[in-house]
């Protein structure tokens, strides 16, 4: 059985757990615990380890989805998770500009050393005052070739669209 891996990353409360839940075929394996640090101010339960989802592609192939921990103190996990990944989705809470710097730090981390295929998902586009994908592109200083996609992580079709757009990027870079 061959497995391939996609990583879903983003700042605390960006919507990583919800994103994986919306698309995974299995009940998401999540190690959520009651937050004990300042993330409690943002949400009562937040991901302190990681989420894991799975989509069977065929009898011989399975896609694993890993959600990274959001907090800085767990960023040592990012490097471990990023090894051998097929591609990366960076989720951004479009309604919270205070998380954009942290999002940039995460993007920098993942793309500094690896030639990683990635897209940015502008989550919570259904909320009032959500920054549009193009405004997010400017705020995150992303070049035009990077896809910044509208997303609502609780909506399966929206999540599918983000994954497909990432796969098209990967497809362009794949071997015949």
């Amino acid at each position: 059985m061959q497995t391939v891996k996609m990583v879903i990353s983003g700042a605390v409360n960006a919507g990583k757990t919800e994103f994986i839940r919306s698309i995974s075929e299995i009940e998401v394996v999540s190690t959520e615990r009651r937050a004990t640090d300042d993330t409690r101010m943002i949400k009562k339960e937040t991901t302190v380890a990681m989420d894991f989802g799975r989509i069977a592609i065929g009898n011989d192939l399975v896609l694993h989805l890993f959600g990274t921990p959001g907090q800085k103190r767990f960023d040592f996990m990012w490097e471990i998770l990023s090894e051998g990944m097929l591609g990366l989705v960076i989720l951004v809470d479009s309604t919270r500009p205070e998380t954009f710097r942290e999002t940039n730090r995460i993007i920098d981390f993942f793309i500094s050393y690896r030639d990683t295929a990635y897209v940015i998902a502008a989550n919570k586009q259904d909320r009032p005052n959500a920054w549009s994908p193009e405004e997010l592109r400017l705020a995150l200083r992303q070049p035009p070739h990077v896809k910044v996609l509208p997303c609502v992580a609780s909506d399966r079709e929206s999540v599918k669209n983000v994954l497909l757009e990432l796969l098209y990027v990967i497809q362009e870079r794949s071997e015949e």
Partner: protein, 271 residues
């Protein structure tokens, strides 16, 4: 729809960059304690900035010595007759009530100083109302001014490591020009000290090495490079890790067969 936030989290220079690169038109409202500010942009350029609500009024032109009371009254009367679309500034210029250079210079300086003061705010709520324009009778700058220059000068006045550290966490980072730095440099005026740093940027030397070569302090080099960063001239990056076989650049992920990627695409489509 308004863009809202706090400049503690999304800095003023970041927001000005967004306005510039997005060719935004609108009004930016800022508040910090008892202080307020209002900036108007037209297609990414600043047309007016005031720190007090009364400075949006036409009599600012009298207080700045640009017009007499009678000239202002005449301009306002003409504006009322012209009706839709005209602005007080256009009327003043059309009727030669003040020399263009004087109007431009004085209002530009007034607005720039209003903006520079904002760079010292550690925090402050902001709200950007897209497509909102100043009142036609407001004292707007005849030729809107580039935001690039505002960022450079504003950042020049920042003297705090904290904000710099957000963008430059280590002096081990290397500095390199963006793809087309020449285009960006046009609107920016560099001091002699900034030129010294600018000339040392080669994509290989770290900030610490540039400090050594220029005999500037690491703080001064970081402050200057922070200005370049916020103006979109350069980027900083980690030095590439030494790799086996003397390869350089980013590590390439293993490439997949297209047929396998196509299978995943078809599966996701079918979910």
């Amino acid at each position: 729809m308004a863009l809202v936030g706090n400049i503690r989290d999304f800095g003023l220079s970041d927001f000005l960059y967004l306005v510039d690169r997005g060719d935004k038109t609108g009004g930016l409202y800022l508040s910090h304690g008892q202080e307020t500010a209002l900036l108007f942009f037209e297609k990414g350029k600043l047309v007016m900035a005031v720190r007090r609500p009364e400075d949006q009024q036409p009599d600012l032109l009298v207080r700045l010595g640009l017009l007499s009371d009678s000239q202002l009254a005449r301009a306002r009367a003409s504006l009322a007759m012209r009706g839709n679309g005209a602005t007080l500034t256009e009327v003043i210029l059309a009727e030669n009530l003040a020399p263009r250079e004087q109007l431009q210079g004085t209002l530009q300086n007034f607005s720039e100083e209003a903006v520079y003061g904002l760079f010292g705010w550690p925090e402050g709520e902001f709200r950007f109302e897209q497509n909102q324009r100043p009142d036609p009778a407001a004292p707007t700058i005849p030729s809107p001014i580039s935001v690039d220059h505002l960022i450079m000068e504003g950042v020049r006045r920042i003297d705090e490591w904290g904000r710099i550290r957000d963008r430059i966490p280590s002096t081990d980072l290397v500095v390199r020009f963006l793809d087309q730095p020449g285009v960006r440099v046009r609107g920016v005026k560099l001091s002699a000290e900034e030129w010294r740093v600018f000339a040392r940027i080669n994509g290989r030397d770290s900030l610490a090495e540039i400090a050594q070569k220029t005999s500037l302090s690491e703080f001064d080099v970081c402050r200057i490079v922070y200005g370049f960063l916020t103006a979109g001239l350069v980027e900083v990056a980690k030095r590439a890790r030494p790799l086996p076989l003397e390869r350089s650049g980013a590590i390439e992920q293993p490439r997949l067969k297209r047929s396998l990627v196509n299978r995943i695409i078809n599966r996701i489509k079918g979910l």
